[in-house]
């Protein structure tokens, strides 16, 4: 592998001044490790493959415990409940909206039903009014007809009475004419003057016979 420039710079410094271990604390066991691995300066400052550098483990474990512990607490106490609340709220809201929609639909259905009921009632009422009007018109027409018929009948009766009256008068005149005529005829035939009373009686006799 490569002898890194970084190592090339730090290695002499580290060997010269052990105080430099403040900057590179893992260089402290480096001397031992170098002899163990036998490949000095192979990797970084310690000579071991960095992830297997045990010297870094306590620090990594402690800091992992601190950071992950804090992270877990924040997730547990803040983030997870908050996300659960957000999703729960949305779920509840959707469920509430759905039930509200269902309620409104039921309301609309009820309104439609009421409307149809009222429409049917109005139709029935309209039909009733029409029937009543028809009935009233019918009775009125019947009454009018009856009145007119009565009037006509009375007029007819009056006319008949007048006709009878005229007829009677005519018949009465017929007596006079017949008497005159009979008197004339008798005068012509027999040349005898007839008294009015005789002729009248004769005519009346004929009339009754007729």
């Amino acid at each position: 592998m490569f002898v890194t420039p970084a190592y090339a710079q730090t290695a002499p410094a580290a060997s010269e001044t052990p105080a430099a271990t403040v900057g590179e604390p893992h260089a402290a066991p480096a001397g031992e490790l170098h002899t163990e691995t036998g490949v000095p300066g192979d990797h970084g400052a310690t000579g071991v493959f960095p992830p297997f550098d045990f010297a870094t483990y306590p620090s990594q474990l402690v800091w992992l415990a601190i950071t992950f512990g804090i992270f877990f607490l924040v997730m547990h106490k803040v983030i997870a409940p908050r996300l659960a609340a957000i999703l729960g709220d949305r779920h509840d809201r959707i469920a509430a909206d759905l039930s509200e929609a269902g309620r409104l639909k039921a309301e609309a259905d009820a309104a439609v039903e009421t409307y149809e009921k009222e429409l049917a009632a109005a139709r029935a009422k309209g039909a009733g009014i029409a029937d009543a009007a028809r009935e009233a018109a019918k009775t009125k027409a019947a009454a009018d007809r009856a009145a007119i018929e009565e009037e006509l009948a009375s007029k007819l009766a009056a006319a008949e009475a007048r006709i009878a009256d005229i007829k009677a008068k005519a018949f009465a005149n017929v007596g006079d004419i017949a008497e005159e005529t009979a008197a004339g005829i008798v005068d012509q035939l027999i040349g005898a003057k007839t008294s009015g009373e005789e002729v009248k009686a004769a005519v009346a006799a004929v009339k009754t016979e007729a």
Binding site: M1, F2, T4, P5, A6, Y7, V22, G23, E24, P25, H26, H43, G44, A45, F49, P50, P51, F52, D53, A55, T56, Y57, P58, S59, Q60, L61, V62, W63, L64, A65, I66, T67, F68, I70, F71, F72, V74, M75, H76, V78, I79, A80, R82, L83, A84, A85, I86, L87, D89, R90, R93
Partner: protein
């Protein structure tokens, strides 16, 4: 330095500190752990800050990650496993963010350290063991004795089950570690070819096109691997937690 493909994994102290004889320096690894936590927390916190009923882009991503892990956990460990949601969610987000942060040039990849992935895997298996015994007592050992196995074969099957159980933290940690490590080394090596060939004059520059294309393609692949490994880690965690939740039934 520029050409050493393993240099990127070197842990270097930034703030040296030693407590009780242990070197607990704040290193570049620590810095990127903090950065990972800060990035993931910051994103999730601000993305969900408005708590909109109709989510924006950021909030959609946060919600998707939530539903992704929740679905994974419900499928893997059942509804009872949902108590582990914050744990699995933290693991997934931490690993994913660490992997993705590692894709930035000159950034340290937290998950390319075996000790980190091993610690996370031990945390998972430790959780399984502790919760399993807490929930089921000694019945938890029933996971090593699958039902319907003839009594003659039981010792053999049980020993296999025990070995498989014990190898879980190793496979879980090595899978993530090796993927991140190998990917970053490969990227570095191919990128190194570009520069070293480019130094060879006109022919070298012409030839450097190939590793350059390779580097670009590998970068895309590494983003996929970053997500995939976080996903695999989370899925396996869910499956292992299933043992803890349901015991040997």
């Amino acid at each position: 330095m520029a050409n050493d493909p393993t240099h990127q994994f070197v842990v270097q102290p930034i703030i040296p500190m030693e407590i009780g004889g242990w070197d607990l320096s704040f290193t570049n690894a620590s810095l990127f752990m903090v950065a990972t936590v800060a990035a993931a927390t910051g994103f999730l916190y601000f993305a969900t800050a408005s708590r909109s009923l109709i989510p924006g882009r950021m909030q959609s991503v946060a919600e998707m990650s939530y539903e992704f892990i929740a679905g994974m956990l419900r499928e893997g460990a059942g509804t009872k496993g949902m108590v582990f949601f914050p744990f699995v969610f933290s693991l997934f987000m931490f690993v994913l963010t660490a992997n993705l942060l590692g894709m930035f040039p000159y950034f340290f990849t937290v998950t390319s350290q075996i000790i980190v992935t091993f610690a996370l895997a031990v945390l998972v298996i430790g959780t399984v063991i502790v919760y399993g015994f807490y929930k089921h007592g000694l019945h938890f050992l029933g996971i090593f004795a699958p039902q319907g196995v003839p009594k003659v074969l039981l010792p053999l099957v049980s020993s296999i089950e025990v070995i498989s159980f014990l190898s879980r933290p190793i496979s879980l940690s090595v899978r993530l570690f090796a993927n991140m490590l190998a990917g970053h080394i490969t990227l570095k090596v191919f990128a190194g070819f570009v520069t070293s060939m480019g130094a060879l004059g006109a022919v070298g520059i012409g030839g450097a096109v190939l590793p350059l294309i390779m580097t670009v393609a590998m970068t895309g692949l590494e983003f996929l691997v970053s997500f995939l490994q976080a996903y695999v880690f989370a899925v396996l965690t869910c499956m292992y937690l299933n043992d803890a939740v349901h015991g040997g039934h």
